[in-house]
């Protein structure tokens, strides 16, 4: 990471700590914002958060590693999650996953070369009445067909 990038990340985290407070209970909110802005929480970011909340960096890492939506490794700018739990599975989530894999030329769990997309499976998205379902970042898409799923992907800038 460049020095200037580091400084700006530090500034960003300082602002978040100001916004949410330096109490331990702010940790998840801070992590979520960093995750949203960068799609991952770098080691440096974790150290800076730890320093400002006055906790050990391992404490931060242990939280990041616990939650499925927090990542310590770089991901694509857009995270695509296809529901794999029972009802979506019965509605053939496999066909959705395959179509997305073919279209992007990567496998589930991977990131495209241009860093535009990461695709992964998710556990129950709570959309069982409208499956098969997937999420692109915070937005959800339901009653998918393989073709529609790909259309939604292509609509992402």
């Amino acid at each position: 990471m460049l020095v200037s990038e580091k400084t700006s990340l530090t500034e960003e985290i300082e602002l978040l700590v100001q916004k949410y407070g330096n109490d331990r209970s702010s940790l998840l909110k801070i992590l979520q914002d960093v995750q949203k802005n960068h799609r991952y929480i770098s080691e440096f970011a974790q150290q800076e958060i730890a320093r400002l909340l006055k906790i050990h960096p391992v404490e931060v890492y242990s939280v990041v590693s616990f939650y499925a939506f927090l990542n310590s490794k770089p991901k694509g700018r857009n995270i695509v999650r296809i529901c794999r739990t029972i009802t979506c599975d019965m509605k053939n989530k496999e066909a959705i996953a395959k179509a997305v894999e073919r279209e992007l030329g990567i496998k589930m769990g991977e990131t495209t070369k241009d860093k535009k997309f990461t695709i992964e499976y998710a556990n129950c998205l709570g959309l069982c009445d409208e499956g098969p379902a997937m999420a692109i970042n915070e937005r959800v898409y339901t009653k998918l067909t393989p073709e529609k799923a790909v259309e939604y992907l292509n609509s992402v800038k």
């Binding site: 998840l28 939650y67 499925a68 739990t85 029972i86 019965m90 709570g126 069982c128 959800v140």
Partner: protein
Amino acid sequence: MENKKHTRKGDIIFSDYTPGDGIKKAVTLSREDILFEIKDSKLKGRGGAGFPVSTKWMLAAAAISDEKYIVCNADEGEPGTFKDRVLLYEYPELVFDGMVIAGYTIGAKKGIVYLRGEYEHALKPLEDYLQKMRDENLLGKSILGIRNFNFDIEIFVGSSAYVCGEETALIESLEGNRGEARNRPPYPVNTGFKKKPTSVNNVETLCCIPHIVLNGGNWFKKFGTGESTGTKIFSISGDCEKPDVYELPWGTTLKELLEISGAQNTKAVQIGGASGQCVPKAQFNRKLAYEDLPTGGSIIVFNESRNMLKVLKNFMEFFVEESCGQCTPCRIGNRKLLEGVNMIEKGEYTFTYLNKLKELGKTMQVASKCGLGQSSPNSFISILENFNDEIFSYNNGGTHA
């Protein structure tokens, strides 16, 4: 997602309600009166565990503390349930009025909604609704002009972990920690969020409260059975024509549910999600009720074409992934059960070993630290027992090696 509020019909939650009315009535009553009505209603928690709401609230009300919290559990992660999502989108007035009444009753000034990360799409509409309540003086300082009645609600978004629905894990998560279940006692009503008395209640439980306050406990008891009073919102999905949420009185039979949702050629129904049990056709006249088939509301329908071993595999993969890993019976046990399923799939099993796995499942039910590990063997045990023929007999297309 479609908003179908105008088409929904039900005796309690889906009945007519004017936003704010429950709060307006509550403030004319004493805390004791409200607790009495809730006790009289025999309302039990709708999040799965079925604990009496009045007991929890009486303990929280009696606790002496400068700070208390009401937490709305909107972590809804059980496979097959989506009723809380529907309630949050279509009936926020019931959820939030229920929380305000809870605050008034136990003496809490702050409410927190723990919204699962997967439902972040609901954040904006919910926050807009809260703002509307503040503008109408139904939330915030001196609610309805009553001095000293201050209560506000904050929404906390999770980051995806099924176990965070367990109330002590949820509190850990709110405090900025890994969502690992705590030892109990102490219970959250005494030592909860920030070590203060905290009542954690499910979204649907809170939705019942304004109606009980308006109509009384006695009215509520008219619906349901003696032990399971009121109605339940069922999330029905899988092999049926009309997957949706349905409000029906407790005591409704599985057969009736299947008819209502347009299910045909049904072979099995999973009650209570992956952590629940799988009921075969021969038992479809059983009742959904705390005393027969209890459920947090997840109902998944399987027709004749489904392979029950594959269903079980999907559930066990879910648990292996979602176990928080804190205690051994659950961390290792779920892996072993999944391995067992894979062995059956490949035809590389012995019945002696499978019996050992069932024993292991029973050990997990008693030795695991929280409800996740205690309930994850349920489907393993019930599917292997109830679909024994399909899974093991050659004639029925079962595995053979």
